[in-house]
Amino acid sequence: ATTMTLGHNAAPGNPRGTAADEFARLVAENTGGEFAVRVAGAEQLGNEQSLLTSLRTGAVDMTVNSQGSCSALVPEIAALGLPFLFDTSEDAFRVLAGPVGAALADRFAAVNMVPLGWWDNGIRHITNSQKPIVVPADLAGLTIRTPPDPMTIDIFTTLGAATEQISFGELYIALQQGVVDGQENPLTNIASSKLYEVNPYISLSGHKWEVSPFLMSQIRWQQLNDDQKGQIQAAADAATTMQRGLIQDSEKTLFDQFSADPNLKINEVDKEAFRAASAPVADIWTAKPFGDFVRQLIDAAKA
């Protein structure tokens, strides 16, 4: 049997990890044991940036990555995070199933990667230590930590918040001690990194959706014959469906859990006000070198 390696950064029990394990099981089953997949999670084989480089050198065969780290190689993918572009994850998957997804796959091919599936990274919300955020004006005077992602920085600057770059490893203590007031992440990350312990206000802004591409190294992909490619793609498709379902379930469970927690204050936001206030971000991004792709994406999302 040939053993392939799948690296990811998620902790065990996270939807990414569970679906990756399922993929490994299905590959062994579909190929009748001809291929085995060794899954190494929790950044054991390197952080996301390092795993992407390993994919290009062929040191690792598959990875599940976040949109932010992929945008270093395929900057277009950051446009999927345009503010309020998708109302639900289903809308995003519908668009990715069409020409937009094909265009992205071409861009990944140019950097020696084959997307096996578009996994769900969740819709992102704002948390902070001060007050409920209902309208954009509530953000004034708050310092919000953003990842080093130009889209997120653009969104929060446009909305009138002060942004701050803090590495994820220093985030909990920075929130606890007040270096920054708030941050933005999907509910799954807010829960797994215990950010709610230091940020009791959770405002369901849903300002941004992100994809989590499941990628394979082209070096390995090209060594496979058509049958094998089909078997592996089938395993990937099943794992993709599973991962998306797990994210939906987990967001629902976490919403209920947070709502029931007397220490937390969870609130809905005025989405229309946020949508209007963040509209200029789309203009910034259509002016970029890959503006055509951004326009294609916006049109597809509206259709």
Binding site: P75, A78, P148, A162, E164
Partner: protein
Amino acid sequence: MTRPNDHQEDPQRDIATDVPHPPGGLLRLADGLDRIISFVTRTVLMVSGLALLLLLFANVVARYAAGSGLPFAQELPERLFPFFIVAGIALGAQRGAHMAVEALPEMFDRRGKQAIYVLAQLCVIAGNAVVMVEAFKVGNMSWIDLSPVLGLPATYSYFALAGGAALVILATVAIIIRLVRIGPEALPIPNPEETGQ
């Protein structure tokens, strides 16, 4: 386990060039190498060290004066840090600051020690040759790996690793020349009292 002359009461040398030695072409080459390495690493340490200092300070000032941190305050220091690190590694190699376990060479006489030290230095060259070549290769395929805010390719950081490994190799060549020409006592060891006090 320690070298005979590492008691702190002993007068210590800063870099190996201070060892009195007979004149000779190879030894002059070693001295020349040391001067170049010393100049390059000190310059890189000063430039990158000051830049890091100013950048991180400016971010705190910007947060309170302008109300918002600099968008590249995480990214640019991360890109500068490798240069600072590898210059420190290379200058450390020249000064013999990288720590080793000395149990085995201690058991041998002067000749034996000399042979073991030379062998160890050859291993250092081998390891750094791998790093130099591989870092250059990975760096070359990373021109398209752009940082999110400033769009700097990861190539520069990989090239920093390659350059640092090259400097370590040169410093080690100078050490080997002295080990062969002078003897095991020419192996540089850190100066216990060079704390600048």
